[in-house]
Symmetry: D3
Subunit: 187 residues, 6 copies
């Protein structure tokens, strides 16, 4: 199934798990790097049922949309990637098996997240690290912070993703989730 141009690639299919809350330039860069060594990439949208909380504001459907927009904008070949939402299982001992049942077969996993790495290593997978891209800024945590404080977050995202977040009023959602109905404590 490998084309000639793929012949030099080391892996036939890579798994790239993440939560992508939201999908930023660092994620895009990682996809592009992984595709240098792998013929195909499965972009696994983790915690798929989580949404509308401060560290997981977007639904899986919204995140799939962001990723597709970003990859289109960057002209990544659509024949080369899968975007697959995977629900949490909260049972670490069987999580790798759960992932494997939901996505096509893969021969390498790219992740820097310690638990993800540990679980795949214990299951005898080839696990690779991802070189960071502007690590301090290109972090979903940093971007959500900036959204709340109205600082420049757009520059850290692909243009089309920033535009989509505006359309779905994502920043308003985040700010609403910051509010509280508790009485001030210093009474």
């Amino acid at each position: 199934m490998r084309s000639i141009s793929d012949a030099k690639r080391k892996f036939s299919r890579a798994l790239y798990p993440g939560r992508f809350q939201p999908f930023h330039l660092g994620h895009l860069w990682a996809v592009q790097q992984i595709l240098k060594d792998s013929e195909e990439i499965i972009i696994m949208v983790g915690s798929a049922l989580q949404s509308h909380v401060l560290n997981n504001p977007f639904t899986a459907g919204e995140r799939v949309t962001m990723i597709k927009l970003a990859l289109n904008e960057a002209q990544v070949d659509p024949a080369k990637y899968y975007i697959i939402p995977v629900t949490d299982l909260d049972i670490h001992g069987i999580w790798v098996s759960h992932v494997c049942s939901l996505v096509p077969k893969f021969d390498v996993v790219y992740s820097n997240e310690p638990l993800t790495r540990r679980l795949f290593i214990e299951a005898n997978f080839n696990v690779q690290s991802i070189p960071y891209f502007k690590r301090d800024e290109c972090s979903s945590t940093e971007i959500r912070e900036r959204m709340i404080r109205d600082k420049n977050w757009q520059s850290l995202l692909p243009k089309s993703v920033a535009e989509y977040i505006r359309q779905i009023q994502g920043v308003e959602r985040l700010r609403d989730l910051m509010k509280t109905d508790k009485a001030p404590i210093n009474k």
Copy 2:
């Protein structure tokens, strides 16, 4: 179905979600205010399967009992309310739909809780705020604190609710849940 006396009311059925841990005078007051604008009210006892933890000490059955006692004591017309426990779903993206499948149809939601408000607003519901009643004191958090510290908590509850909590030894339960079996840290 609207009677003449209801004709002036703005809504036919209101949803009033809460955890009611426990149901206090502020909650009672809210029910009475909502019934000025609405013919019927659904008092939704949220997190119905949560109990026996510090911030959710009472079971749904106990909370339903408290609410019924409070409304009886305040002579709220029993034809006008529903008390319905709703289990958590922990999937925010479909929580509104879950609630709607479990309670009669409603045309307005009363809530000050930011996530609840946000989710119903995104689902295109009419969401109203509830004016606070003695906000600093009439808070379930404050009342649970007072129970633990043996300060005057009874005055913040309808008499019948305070009496019921005594019957089921609710304060003893809370204090037991405060204990720990960990060794003191300053060893």
Copy 3:
């Protein structure tokens, strides 16, 4: 808490579990009989998350609405009943405990369903049978059959319930659920 007129009643609170798909004249009659011996009744709407299948067509919210309509029409005192949806647990060994955590305390259970009876008896509850009312006709199974075949089903329901089912197009829903997209077998 017992009023004088309640003094002769044997039980203070009865549990009456059912699926009520839909709530018919036999159910109504049962509620009325139970209230002769019990001060209060908890009408427990079981399988609360089941809906849109042939033997469970209506949502819990729709069934709560039907019950309220029927009891209003029959002028049952609203101070005397609770209508509480309870989700299935599918773990029979702990189901009684699950029910008990979700509803106010009760001292008798009314049921003819063998599994329900068995589980409450093993948990040492007082379990009573319900005398049948026109058993052959007043059965939810029979009523759903008649709805599908367009035979007279309305006469087996309280008028307000029949009217409500028409409003929510319940018969259309049932008939849609009867359809199939399988090819005919005699090919």
Copy 4:
């Protein structure tokens, strides 16, 4: 976002739910028909956690692989489709909402399955039927039957899908699932 060539299409994104056990020529034909009216299609692999039973033999990962192979073979433009596994919820009343949280926004649903149609119609979606392609033969039920009885099943599948099923020994799996460890009944 619509290109000129898309201008004549009626819908911007279609949802096409199915179990695809396995994905056959009828499914492929449906995808091609839907793409005549819709710019993009979401192929939703339902019952994603079901596998290894007679009517659901293949995992979601295996089914995603089959679909990708079939669409590649038929040269369907990879920029035009999403393949998204969706886990069952078994709560019909909120299933549409569950699907919507997991996939990108869509403006039409293609399905012949009565329950699926009913649920989307009640949620006010535009629901279309799919013209059948060789309905008697191109049915997953028929194909699984033929696999078990060793009749010609390959001709009903895209070549690459038939080849993939051979690779993963899918027929052996089905036949193993047919076996029983019960004693013969006519003892």
Copy 5:
């Protein structure tokens, strides 16, 4: 860790999964055969949360008790076995992984059940068959049938298990579960 007398055994630990509804002489015989080839055996009580239905009448706790009684009566060395209840997962694709996380490591699986065999074989386990012991009679299905019809079921069980079932009134439970509250059909 192998003692001299174990040196001739082929396996160090065997997994023997079953539902044991109830544990009969055939099961006991299987345990004894397996211990001829294996130093230790894990008796896995499957479907641990199922109980109080016709084909799964006993709770996991009751089944663990039966097994312990039977093995004591047969003087099987208690140092050689584990009795471990395992809850169902209903996700076949990850069930083997689920089992492995809950029991000690094993190097062989004994089962005649086709799905169990298939799943462990796909996960590359060594799977062995169990020679049957009086297959026609020593079947849990047959025994439950005899219990219901009041035929001689005791002879198919270890004495202590038959006695235990009498103590917990197991036959009465089964017969209660046979009853129905449906009207007779021939009306």
Copy 6:
């Protein structure tokens, strides 16, 4: 069933719930003390599906193995104990009932954990405290701390358990789980 030597024991079967992350000398001592008053002990391995997190690093299977090794090493009579993993339910109101369905009948519970004690007391069980053994050191929290900091943790465990943790590379797992992929905060 009580032997003569058991005649002086107060209880016939004790429940001893714990998470045993890992099983240490204090747990072993507790088992030995409990067996002075009880003929049999059920060692219940709680939170059975939790693993691979800092405060729950080991799977249930690994913990069952540790316990068996420790009891063998200490020559505790294997006829006297059950080791039974129990999955969490996260519904405190029915947790006692859940435990009871999964383990053999018991007439006393040994626990120092406040919530466990409270729930069994509310369910009318006889609940006993466990005298601590070197409480400051023999604590799973302390042992996990020492593993991470490479301080002497082996002396707090039975030799065979320490050896087993080395075999499964348990310390490496814990240290991996300590890592983070977040950028340092002081940027």
